[in-house]
């Protein structure tokens, strides 16, 4: 019986290992420690807000985040008033109005984050033909997830290794599969001045933006883990009682 359990576990493990190994085409990605990992993991609100600062001042000039609404920013610790102010800083198109014309107005809580380009063609035209992907789910949409995103953002090298043929307009990145990436390095010492006074080192900024990206991809994470703990405790007690009852009912059989 034990043999069977072990084989079953190996089956799951093997397939998992196989799919994992298969998915990663690039170099090994170093594991980072994130506040949201583990059974009780939660997001660090400070990191999320700093991450939003990096997204809105750096990433947002090329990358959209279509699945997020301004209202979602209240979940990372901003007050409603703060988010209203943030949203009002963006002009969005609305309409048609009573005269049948489209018009622009300041964004509201109920608007999706404003995208930098009207469509994919416009994005490519502005970026040498490369399409900056939407970042809403990027932390789940790449093998390695947040660790990969961090390795990518901090993995630029000024000069590629000797003998590496780097194409015109491309940049060398250690984490990117194939090592040639169309996006130049974005994080430099002091790229942003953090509102909360945290020193803006490359590592700090990398951690912060990846935290925000992971929140964007898994906004339900805190609710999920918190509910999981309660459900699991309930199940432990329930299953324990079932087991005791089973023993009692079966006591006269063997």
């Amino acid at each position: 019986m034990r043999k069977v359990i072990i084989s079953a576990l190996t089956a799951v493990g093997l397939t998992a290992a196989a799919t994992g190994a298969l998915a990663s085409g690039g170099p090994a990605i170093e594991k980072q420690s994130w506040s949201w990992q583990g059974v009780f993991g939660t997001y660090d609100r400070g990191a999320l807000q700093r991450g939003w600062q990096i997204y809105s001042t750096i990433c947002a000039s090329c990358h959209s985040m279509d699945l997020l609404y301004y209202r979602n920013l209240m979940e990372i610790g901003f007050t409603e008033e703060q988010v209203k102010t943030i949203a009002a800083g963006y002009e969005v198109t609305d309409g048609p109005n009573d005269n049948g014309e489209m018009f622009t107005r300041p964004a509201r809580l109920s608007d999706p984050l404003k995208a930098p380009f009207a469509n994919e063609q416009a994005a490519r035209a502005a970026n040498n033909g490369a399409y900056p992907p939407d970042l809403s789910l990027i932390a789940k949409a790449r093998p390695g997830g947040p660790d990969y995103a961090y390795a990518l953002l901090t993995g630029y090298k000024e000069t590629p290794p000797a003998g590496f043929a780097l194409m015109e307009g491309m940049y060398y990145n250690e984490a990117f599969p194939g090592h040639q990436i169309a996006m130049p390095a974005q994080l430099y010492e002091g790229s942003v001045t953090y509102a909360d006074g945290t020193p803006a080192t490359i590592e700090q900024m990398g951690k912060d933006i990846v935290s925000f990206l992971n929140f964007a991809a898994q906004p339900e994470l805190e609710a999920r883990k918190a509910l999981g703990v309660k459900v699991m405790l309930f199940l432990l007690v329930l299953t324990g009682m079932m087991y005791a009852l089973k023993r009692k009912i079966w006591a006269d059989v063997h």
């Binding site: 084989s7 079953a8 999920r224 699991m232 089973k246």
Partner: protein, 417 residues
């Protein structure tokens, strides 16, 4: 008939529609071998997962949009804006994987204990039909989120039918409802994904009807000799199954709450794009052994035939296995080959996840050959040459470790059987 019920209302209804008598016969009194091990929990577990899948699925369908331009985002709106939508979706997605784990264990248990042998051939067949219906349902369900793997998985699998000589291309066009996997394909897959679980439910009902006609097999593989060998389903197996469900729920929900994307592919969080092919197109893990068999043959039609053959051969299992003894417990030779077969399936699953290159191709071909060798050569042969261990006189006998005690003497007053 309904003299058994004291409650007047129940009696009134039962006299006109004997549902209570039916329930009592099949869920309360149903005589069950008293020696069933925990491996026998997986049947009821599978039924339990089916109910979870149907319930979570109905609520997902209320919020899902089957249109190529909206499907991906509608799933994300479920994840973000529907109350507990993330829970529904993760229950459903991980439930699919759990369903296959439970059913595969259920089938391996049937193979080890010879549960497919007469008079349970039709019971086994119905189980196989359930598995086939599950596979179709799971495949179409995976297409619905309209991510990259959804789209390319659907493209690869539907293209298999183009291997059929002469009419293959027409069949594929007919399946797609167009000239590529597109909106008509997504729409019909959604309709079928909603329909098939109810077909599945009907098959499960027939599976149970057949089970209750031939009664459960048991770890000894011998028939109960009399009431002293069986116990009523309720309360003995109701509580045992409930306990099993508790344990199962803890495993299942650990994935749902802490590793919800464990069984998934990162690529499926990228919206489907017909212009960009993912580096590796892999099916969901539960299809990997069959995928490995498909790829083991260099010829497309040959691969498709082998893949379908690997399922069809299971239908012949009751006659391929020539042994008179059911349980692997008394079949020293078969027991070893059973485990070799399990390992072979795991190897196939591993190979299915690997790119078809280098040593993987050869290993995949050997494992595929062994899969068929096991059914077509080993099983008929082992049954003929194997020296089986002596069977116990009755189910009660080995339970008491007495061996030779007459069966009647072991009945206990508490059993009420």
């Amino acid at each position: 008939m309904s003299g058994e019920f004291n409650n007047k209302t129940i009696k009134w209804v039962d006299d006109r529609l004997p549902i209570f008598t039916m329930l009592k016969h099949s869920a309360v009194d149903y005589p069950t071998p008293k020696n069933l091990s925990y491996w026998w929990n997986f049947g009821s577990l599978a039924g339990f997962v089916l109910v979870i899948m149907i319930l979570s699925g109905i609520f997902l369908a209320m919020n899902y949009t089957a249109n190529t331009s909206m499907a991906f985002e509608s799933v994300e709106r479920i994840m973000r804006d529907v109350n507990y939508g993330w829970l529904l979706r993760y229950l459903h997605a991980n439930g699919g994987s759990m369903f296959f784990i439970v059913v595969y264990i259920h089938m391996f248990r049937g193979m080890y204990y010879g549960s497919y042998k007469g008079p349970r051939e039709l019971l086994w067949w119905l189980g196989l039909l359930i598995m086939v219906a599950m596979m179709a349902t799971a495949f179409m369900g995976y297409v619905l989120p309209w991510g990259q793997m959804s789209f390319w998985g659907a493209t690869v699998i539907t293209n298999l039918f183009s291997a059929i000589p002469l009419v293959g291309d027409y069949i594929v066009t007919w399946l797609w409802g167009g000239f590529s996997v597109d909106n008509p394909t997504l729409n019909r897959f959604f309709a079928l994904h909603y329909l098939l679980p109810f077909v599945l439910f009907a098959l499960v009902f027939l599976h149970l009807v057949a089970l209750h006609a031939v009664k459960s097999n048991n770890p000894l593989g011998i028939d109960p000799k009399g009431p002293q060998d069986t116990i009523p389903f309720h309360p003995y197996f109701t509580i045992k199954d409930l306990y099993g469900m508790g344990v199962f729920m803890m495993v299942y929900l650990a994935f749902v709450f802490w590793a919800p994307d464990f069984f998934g592919e990162p690529d499926n969080y990228i919206p489907a794009n017909p212009m960009v092919t993912p580096a590796h197109i892999v099916p969901e893990w539960y299809f990997l052994p069959f995928y490995a068999i498909l790829r083991a043959v260099p010829d497309k039609l040959g691969g498709v035939i082998m893949m379908f053959g690997s399922i069809i051969v299971l239908f012949f299992l009751p006659w391929l296995d020539t042994s008179k003894v059911k349980s692997g417990r008394f079949r020293p030779l078969y027991k070893q080959f059973f485990w070799l077969f399990v390992i072979d399936c795991l190897v196939l699953g591993y190979i299915g996840a690997k790119p078809a290159e280098g040593a993987y191709v050869l290993i995949g071909q050997i494992a595929t050959a062994y899969y068929f060798f096991h059914f077509l050569v080993l099983l008929p042969l082992i049954g003929k040459i194997e020296k089986t261990k002596p069977l116990p006189h009755s189910i009660s006998a080995p339970v008491l470790k007495g061996g030779g005690i007459p069966a009647g003497a072991t009945a206990k007053p508490m059993e009420k059987a």
